[in-house]
């Protein structure tokens, strides 16, 4: 197995993975999307809500705010023996404000400095003059299976690595493929009078080029054991941590069978 990282930052991880079965890549994708836990606001206690938004609508908005998560510091909900929520399995955030103003996610004050909204600029509620809001929000760990607010990724997808072969005997260098390709994969070199593949990894395998080629000189195939994998995080966890956690989860799933046998 080989992994080559194409790009990586706190938001996104793109890599090539070679020499694996599609089933493993797909299992990881499925786990990354809905089984890796993150923090999200689960319960809101309203002390005061004079705003023109209903309590439940505001609670729902709060739930959608992505929060930075430290998986090791917080116990998952089901595994804590407190029954409801306590300092081990939850983080409390407070929101307080008096109009006229707009309260943003940055106005949420967290009891834990490690846990805060990923972005400070998400508008939560607009307050008119004199209106007041005061609430306490309880954030807990959960998974995307239960509710989409706990999904750590915004997108997670893979595609087969494209392979383009141009039969130089058949190609008449008409340049039609370069014109028709919606993704700019080809470049028609007029000096050399030759078609070049310049952006192979951007190919979506739509096969417009091979369909439009008057001489059927182009074949586009997807390699069966090489993939381009992309994870985009919502900021709650770095993308590499989401993926390594997914690996751990799959490992544990397999371990359960071993224990049973």
């Amino acid at each position: 197995m080989e992994i080559e990282i194409i790009s990586q930052d706190n938001q996104e991880l793109v890599f090539r993975i070679e020499g694996v079965e599609v089933s493993l890549v797909n299992a990881l994708r499925r786990i990354v999307m809905v089984e890796v836990p993150t923090l999200a606001i689960e319960e809101v206690l309203f002390l005061k809500n004079e705003a023109r938004i209903f309590d439940e609508a505001l609670a729902h908005r709060l739930g959608m705010v992505p929060l930075t998560t430290d998986l090791e510091a917080i116990t998952p909900r089901g595994e804590c023996d407190c029954g409801d929520h306590c300092s081990r399995c939850s983080v409390s955030l407070t929101l307080k404000g008096k109009g006229p103003k707009t309260l943003y996610s940055g106005d949420l004050e967290s009891s834990d400095p490690q846990v805060k909204p990923v972005l400070d600029t998400i508008p939560l509620v607009k307050l008119q003059k004199g209106e007041e809001v005061e609430l306490e929000a309880i954030a807990q760990l959960g998974t995307g299976i239960e509710h989409a607010k706990w999904q750590p990724t915004t997108t997670c997808a893979y595609k087969n690595y494209p392979q383009i072969t141009i039969d130089q005997d058949k190609c008449e260098a008409c340049g039609l493929c370069a014109q028709q390709c919606p993704r700019g994969v080809y470049f028609f070199d007029e000096k050399e009078n030759k078609i070049q593949v310049v952006d192979l990894e951007n190919c979506s395998m739509c096969r417009t080029c091979s369909k439009d080629c008057p001489n059927q000189a182009i074949t586009v195939e997807g390699l069966g054991d090489k993939f381009i994998f992309r994870i985009e995080s919502d900021g709650s966890l770095p993308p590499w941590e989401i993926l390594t956690t997914a690996c751990d989860i799959l490992f544990q799933k397999a371990e359960k069978i071993l224990d049973y046998l």
């Binding site: 197995m1 993975i17 797909n26 499925r30 786990i31 799959l250 397999a254 046998l261």
Partner: protein
């Protein structure tokens, strides 16, 4: 987890609470094994169904154990390769 069928050359288990993620990955690993004649899984209902894994092999238990360990090894491998240095 539940054993549905346990014979010398056949094994069928219900992997309670799991989904396509584990079962499909395991199935492909099982099929790489030369001693395995057939490996398949089915989920009867998309929402409430539990996956049943069926193995026909010389020694199905041993093959399943081996497959699980291979899968775990691959998980570790991906993890090591992705982790920033």
């Amino acid at each position: 987890m539940k054993i549905i069928k346990d014979e010398k050359k056949e094994l069928e288990i219900e992997i309670t609470g799991e989904s396509h993620s584990l079962c499909n990955a395991l199935r492909t690993v099982l099929m790489e094994d030369k001693n395995v004649e057939a490996a398949a899984y089915a989920i009867d209902h998309p929402i409430i169904g539990q996956p049943r894994l069926y193995i026909k092999a010389k020694n199905p238990r041993q093959s399943l154990k081996k497959a699980v360990k291979t899968l775990q090894k691959r998980c570790e491998e991906v993890k090591e390769l992705v982790k920033p240095v």
